[in-house]
């Protein structure tokens, strides 16, 4: 191993490290693709949607709201509510992209989505962390786009992912990544606050609110604890 990791090597590692996470996305991409067909989207339209929007949960909800002509304002509002969690995830990316000028960092924000963001964070600080992140984004983008197209082409042939236990791939992945992070920086009070607030928000508000409320509650507890010497974020 050389002293300085090249950006290409880090990019390649990001691609590989995100492959397990792509498994869950693979199953849901196929289901999503099949649903695009049910909603009346052609192959080109389905592909364009995944390529342009690149946001699984917002796209699923959009199919439920889909009409022709499309209810653009409603779709935009739904996307805002569903994806507000990206605000927090993107905020944590300043550490990953440290030293990147905004002309490079802001385009990279397009790739911030649950799974590859989680893989990037769990991988921990490393040389060329930003290039690693781009690799994880590449894996997810290609997986999401390809499975959307295949799902749309195959239509209702796609079976229920639950029959294969693949519905459990998402919780299992997020849990494993959370444990990996938790092991590196133990903060039980933060985890309890986050879990409790998320459960409460799930009961009271529902939707994607738990991620936002739980994330903020955990961060608030972390801020209130006596701050030690920590690396800049």
């Amino acid at each position: 191993m050389t002293v300085s990791t090249s950006a290409l090597a880090a990019f390649r590692e990001g691609i590989l490290r995100c492959l397990p996470a792509a498994l869950g996305v693979f199953a849901y991409g196929l289901v999503f693709g099949a649903l695009t067909r049910t909603a009346g989207l052609g192959l080109g339209e389905a592909a364009a949607m995944s390529a342009i929007v690149f946001s699984g949960s917002a796209q699923f909800v959009a199919l439920g709201l889909w009409t022709l002509p499309p209810p653009t304002a409603t779709l935009a509002l739904a996307t805002l509510l569903i994806n507000f969690r990206f605000f927090l995830m993107a905020a944590t990316m300043t550490r990953v992209l440290r030293g990147w000028p905004l002309v490079r960092a802001l385009p990279a924000m397009f790739w911030v989505t649950d799974e590859n963001w989680a893989v990037t964070m769990a991988a921990g600080e490393r040389p060329r962390w930003g290039a690693f992140f781009l690799g994880t984004g590449f894996t997810l983008y290609v997986t999401w786009l390809a499975t959307t197209v295949v799902g749309n082409a195959l239509g209702s042939v796609i079976a229920d992912p639950k029959a294969w236990g693949l519905d459990f791939a998402f919780p299992a992945m997020f849990l494993a990544l959370a444990v990996g992070l938790a092991r590196k920086a133990p903060a039980p009070t933060v985890w309890i606050a986050s879990a409790a607030a998320a459960l409460l928000a799930d009961r009271l508000i529902g939707g994607n609110a738990p991620v936002l409320v739980g994330g903020l509650a955990g961060a608030a507890v972390a801020a209130l604890r006596k701050p030690e010497a920590r690396r800049a974020g």
């Binding site: 397990p20 690149f54 995830m89 989680a118 791939a169 494993a176 992070l181 507890v221 701050p227 974020g233």
Partner: protein, 98 residues
Amino acid sequence: MRVDVLLAFLAMSAVSYGIRVAGYLARSRLPDHPRLMAAMDQLPAAILIALVVPMLARGGPAEWIAAAVVAALAWFVDLLLIPLAVGVVVVVLLRGVI
């Protein structure tokens, strides 16, 4: 493709992208106060826990036992594929039993 369909996709994309850019810019503009850094350090784990806990709460004993197996494996194994694959297999087996 219809222009209005393309515009709808672009609108969704713009909103989604705008949220991410806003989050990044908001953090880059804030000073590195120790309490803020402590919060930002813990934010990824807090978000992941907040993502996964409601998902698991909606499950039953099969999912909870499988989750315990995943958590235990993830504590010792850094490779994501192993807890993930074992978790999926365990949940399928348990659903057949429970």
